[in-house]
């Protein structure tokens, strides 16, 4: 098969990767090939981490940070954070062929850092990750995201929401101006703690699992230099082929009211992209600077 001028050998296309839905690798590849135009813009300049499930989502998968040694020569790589302050070479998905190649490796999940490969010290985006502790669920995450949106608005910042494709929501705040990982993390934590103080029964910023029951954990630490977050439009290795899907604030408000679960599987996402285009496009271009406390 030829993709974008590159010859690709696709293998085991009929292998079922999502047994619950019977979704095959062929469909996974189809999804990534069709979502590539919008997804690639979100990940193309970044060294990405794969989470591969060669035996389907019912079997254990594994993280692959170091770009596969058996990659075709045209798959680009770039250095990124490694162990002990060293660097390792990550894959850079810079075209549809690379995305299809990753899909063929059953790299169902593609995780991306907040910084571009060319400037690892500067996050282009700040992320809030809302992770619900059962019985809290999407509605609570949506309320938390709306609360964060209000704080952001008070300091003149805008953010864009997406589902994690799992249980939670994420809010991306485009920066695209000079910033550091430490400042982004501090800011996210400050917002989180402010809201934690206002809504102590609903929100928390500490990771302690035991305290999370019924609360939404605002994970500010995803802004760390070495952290990656599930990429917009990436599939998730959940029982069903759900996708980390950009959503509108109206949808988030409906979810907050418990009207919408915001669960999108890959065919839904292709429909949405056709209808809305890339809801995350502003995340790539809008320039915003984090406020600095006086003194």
């Amino acid at each position: 098969m030829e993709v974008d001028g590159h010859e690709l050998a696709l293998t085991n296309l009929d292998k079922v990767l999502y047994p619950a839905t019977g979704t095959t690798k062929r469909e996974v590849i189809e999804y990534y090939a069709r979502v590539a135009p919008v997804m690639l813009r979100q990940v193309e300049a970044r060294g990405v981490t794969f989470r591969r499930f060669p035996n389907g989502v019912d079997q254990a998968g594994f993280f692959e940070k170091r770009c596969n040694q058996h990659r075709p020569p045209w798959v680009a790589t770039a250095p990124g954070p490694g162990d002990h302050n060293g660097t390792i070479e990550y894959c850079v998905l810079d075209g549809p062929a690379a995305l299809v190649w990753a899909a063929n490796l059953a790299a169902l999940e593609i995780h991306a850092p907040m910084a571009r490969a060319e400037d690892l010290e500067t996050p282009t985006t700040l992320v809030f990750d809302f992770d619900p502790g059962a019985p809290a669920a999407m509605a609570a995450c949506a309320r938390a995201a709306l609360a964060v949106r209000d704080v952001l608005a008070a300091v003149g910042l805008e953010g864009w929401p997406k589902t994690s494709g799992s249980k939670g929501l994420q809010l991306y705040v485009p920066l695209n101006t000079p910033c550091t990982h430490e400042r982004a993390a501090s800011f996210a934590l400050a917002v989180g703690r402010l809201l934690e103080r206002e809504h102590p029964d609903e929100l928390l910023t500490s990771m302690t699992k035991s305290e999370r029951t019924g609360k939404v954990f605002i994970d500010w630490s995803q802004n760390a230099r070495h952290k990656t977050t599930i990429a917009p439009y990436s599939l998730r290795a959940r029982p069903r082929p759900t996708v980390s899907t950009p959503v509108t604030w109206e949808e988030v408000a409906r979810a907050a009211d418990g009207v919408d679960e915001l669960r999108f599987e890959w065919p839904d996402v292709l429909d949405r992209v056709e209808r809305h285009g890339d809801l995350f496009a502003p995340v790539l271009s809008l320039q915003q600077a984090l406020p600095v406390p006086a003194g």
């Binding site: 692959e64 609360a147 704080v151 101006t177 501090s186 109206e250 408000a253 409906r254 009211d257 600095v292």
Partner: protein
């Protein structure tokens, strides 16, 4: 109550004495657990491939012996099986030697030997060895490993020490710094002075005089912390010290925005958590209008302090 680490018999000739072994030394290092300072979660180590960082499931982990740099011979547990000493449950005493014959370098881990069930044969052996001034050397198997051991009497009891094998003891001849020390001559006077110095410091061995002051200090610190800050877990703020300032600034901004909104008749809903779609929509429009100038302000502030 100490628990026995091994039980079996001491055998020699036709005699066999049921015994149990207990650790004679319990190490008192202060051990710390590794924690994530944000959540106090315990750190678990994962088995990953050194070259790719990928998780390696247990079924794929094999034993490899590095023959030369980077080259391994993989050995299957089945291949090792025939060599694993079978648990014989007996300490076979092979000979009785003088205590002074054993260089202390051979002694490894000490165990207390206690009688199991009937004490009489145990007492008899201990007394006989003490009278003869002898130490017994034998072999036994513990946890699938073969040991040489010395059994010695003390105060009517028996102690056992596992011992290093002869080929495990490092040959001092291999240490260059020791080369030629036999050729160095010392004068009688020098020797007399050195002996005098040694003599002046001579005393009885009082083990309790030597203490691990590091451990004691660490334990004291931990006790103080535990008493004073029992439930104090380091806050994430400790890692991000500027957060307090940031929070104050954010709080002021949020308050100002709420007040501005209060004056705005179109938007009455300030609480974000639950609101109708219409209100959300109204706020969206309002944010559009308000966000721009505020954003400019944020940007110029950022520049100023940069």
């Amino acid at each position: 109550m100490p628990r026995p680490v091994w039980s079996g018999t001491i055998s020699f000739g036709l005699v066999s004495i049921p015994v149990k072994l207990f650790h004679a030394v319990s190490r008192k290092n202060v051990s710390f657990n590794q924690l994530d300072d944000r959540s106090m979660s315990r750190i678990r180590l994962k088995k990953v491939a050194a070259d790719t960082g990928e998780d390696v499931p247990d079924e794929h982990i094999v034993k490899g012996y590095e023959v030369t740099k980077g080259e391994y011979v993989v050995v299957d547990p089945d291949e090792l099986e025939p060599f694993i000493p079978s648990a014989t449950k007996a300490i076979d005493l092979e000979e009785f030697v003088d205590l002074a014959d054993i260089d202390p370098v051979f002694y490894d881990t000490p165990y207390i030997v206690a009688p199991d069930k009937s004490a009489k044969p145990y007492v008899l052996l201990a007394k006989a060895m003490e009278e003869a001034g002898k130490v017994a050397v034998g072999t036994f198997v513990m946890r699938s490993k073969q040991y040489v051991a010395a059994v010695r009497p003390i105060d009517g009891r028996l102690m056992l020490s596992t011992m290093a094998f002869a080929d495990e003891v490092v040959d001092p001849a291999g240490i260059d710094e020791l080369d030629g020390i036999g050729d160095i001559t010392v004068t009688k006077k020098e020797l007399a002075m050195a002996e005098q110095l040694v003599e002046s410091l001579a005393g009885d061995f009082e083990p309790e005089r030597f203490r691990d002051s590091y451990r004691e200090q660490v334990l004291e610190l931990i006790e103080k912390k535990a008493a004073g800050e029992t439930f104090e877990t380091p806050e994430p703020a400790a890692a991000a010290p500027k957060v307090v300032d940031l929070m104050a600034a954010l709080e002021a901004s949020v308050k100002a925005a709420k007040e501005a909104r209060g004056r705005h008749p179109a938007a009455v809903q300030a609480v974000p958590a639950r609101r109708s779609k219409a209100a959300a929509q109204a706020e969206d429009d309002e944010d559009e209008a308000e966000a721009r100038p505020a954003k400019k302000a944020a940007r110029s502030r950022a520049r100023k302090s940069a």
